[in-house]
Subunit: 301 residues, 2 copies
């Protein structure tokens, strides 16, 4: 029997990192968007004489050291006395390291499929995924954001059950996502830029809470990206080209070398032409409004 | 333009009521199930020279006094200086007063459609719905449960953003719901039985948290219903007939004169035969896993 979980890709518009001793007290404030594409995780269990946990990314088996977050999750959920071969297959719709919350998607998706098999509530499983993310510096706010879905505002930091995550009502916008390159979360979060991020992130959050609309979200996303100096010139050039044909400003995905924008139906055609001219690969997808899924997976159904 | 919201019906398995001065501190502990059927609310706005709010239940316009919860919600969200005719149409898949969370569905659905038009985040809108429910004694835990979806456990009481609501992973069960008669929440919550409810509800919650599975949920639901004396003889007789052909015990919906059970696919046929013999109207539906929906509604799409 295969178990499948789906966790949406999560892109961050702006954020305030909050790191404390206890991972469940750590997290982020900020805002972001969950997408209908993301991470699919499949669990397959085979009989065996020992306890083995195997992880594969996009169909390719990886070593334990290459999957520390997933191994952290699995070791906490799979009972110590379990004997058999556990296979965790993670498939990502977006490239890893580009700001789409793949590590959190893999962590939360793995926690959910393992919980389906070995037990646990959604919050208790998500806490383990959040802990793995914080400890191994995968991200701070992705798990609680993905757990909530929609266009989200993290108004109180922390792990699942502690964070408070609100939603903006989405007025029929689609999301344009342009993955351009990798940016290591770890490096930026260790850098001096952190103080500017904290200051500008709090300003953006306050403004969005005063007027919680997709319009203010995108205005603040762009302001934050420029004010923190995170938006590099090459990305800014692309953003400006896109801005010529859409109403709301585009911005940078935090933290990846990627661009995102909210699109109205009538803007889709024009923006596709611009992206064709720029020769950029992109995705246009709907906002994923719900919670992550976990279910028995029946192929060809 | 019509705006539509869907809020799942919510049935409670067991509960502990917690009433405090501040409605946002009031709520309930306990567990319940959100269903794929429930409440649909449509908002239509027409021009007019004055500020009027009209409410209709299942297509029938009702007086303001008959819709105090919806009016409470509307008066908090519709700006005071708004001029025009606001029509709130609420359609219920289950009968009102039978324990399916219709009042909370109407409150939350109305808050969401009005928020789509006039602004507000999901939590801020849901807080208004929760307040209306608590103040007018519609219910205590339905709004936060419906906001979460799934098979839910309320582990901390309060309004939206304050309550902590967890989920059990649903292992492919469907829900059988048999609405039999009305039971006024207001009367039971004012009664002496409340102390027994509090005691037994806490025992059930503790046991479910120790072993959070659908099996324990149903065992505790039935134990709670019997231990509190809420399960009347006529309902008990029906429950026993159903129990003959299904694996998990059926129980009473809190608080309505209604029965519910969790069904496996292979049990569906047998239980339908029993219900036909008993000449009872019933619904079999899936668990609604996600959050309530709110969207622009385009007929015939």
């Amino acid at each position: 029997m295969l178990i499948r979980a789906f966790v949406p890709a999560h892109i961050t518009a702006f954020f305030v990192p909050i790191i404390r001793d206890n991972p469940q007290d750590s997290g982020s404030l900020g805002a972001g968007i969950n997408l209908e594409k993301g991470t699919n995780v499949f669990l397959n269990i085979e009989e065996g004489l020992e306890r083995h946990i195997h992880v594969a990314f996009n169909g390719e088996p990886v070593k334990k050291e290459e999957a520390p977050i997933t191994m952290h999750v699995a070791n906490k959920i799979v009972p110590e006395d379990f004997v058999g071969e556990i296979e965790i297959w993670q498939y990502f719709d977006f490239p890893t390291g580009y700001g789409f919350g793949n590590s959190a998607g893999g962590a939360l998706g793995s926690a959910l499929v393992l919980g389906y098999k070995f037990g646990g509530t959604v919050l208790s499983l998500a806490k383990i995924a959040h802990e793995a993310e914080v400890v191994h510096k995968g991200g701070l706010g992705d798990v609680v954001a993905q757990l909530t879905g929609g266009i989200e505002i993290r108004i109180k930091e922390g792990g699942p059950g502690k964070a408070i995550v609100d939603n903006i009502i989405n007025h029929e916008y689609k999301v344009l996502a342009i993955p351009i390159g990798e940016l290591r979360t770890k490096e930026v979060l260790d850098d001096d830029v952190i103080r500017t991020i904290e200051k500008e992130g709090r300003i953006s959050l306050q403004r969005l809470l005063q007027n919680p609309t997709p319009e203010v979200l995108m205005n603040e996303a762009r302001r934050f990206a420029e004010a923190t100096g995170l938006l590099s010139n090459d990305l800014l050039e692309i953003a400006r080209e896109i801005d010529k044909v859409i109403f709301l400003p585009s911005s940078m995905i935090m933290l990846g070398k990627s661009i995102f924008a909210l699109l109205r139906d009538e803007e889709e055609k024009k923006v596709k032409e611009v992206l064709k001219d720029l020769d950029l690969h992109y995705e246009i997808c709907r906002v994923y409004w719900g919670k992550p899924l976990v279910e028995r997976w029946i192929p060809n159904e």
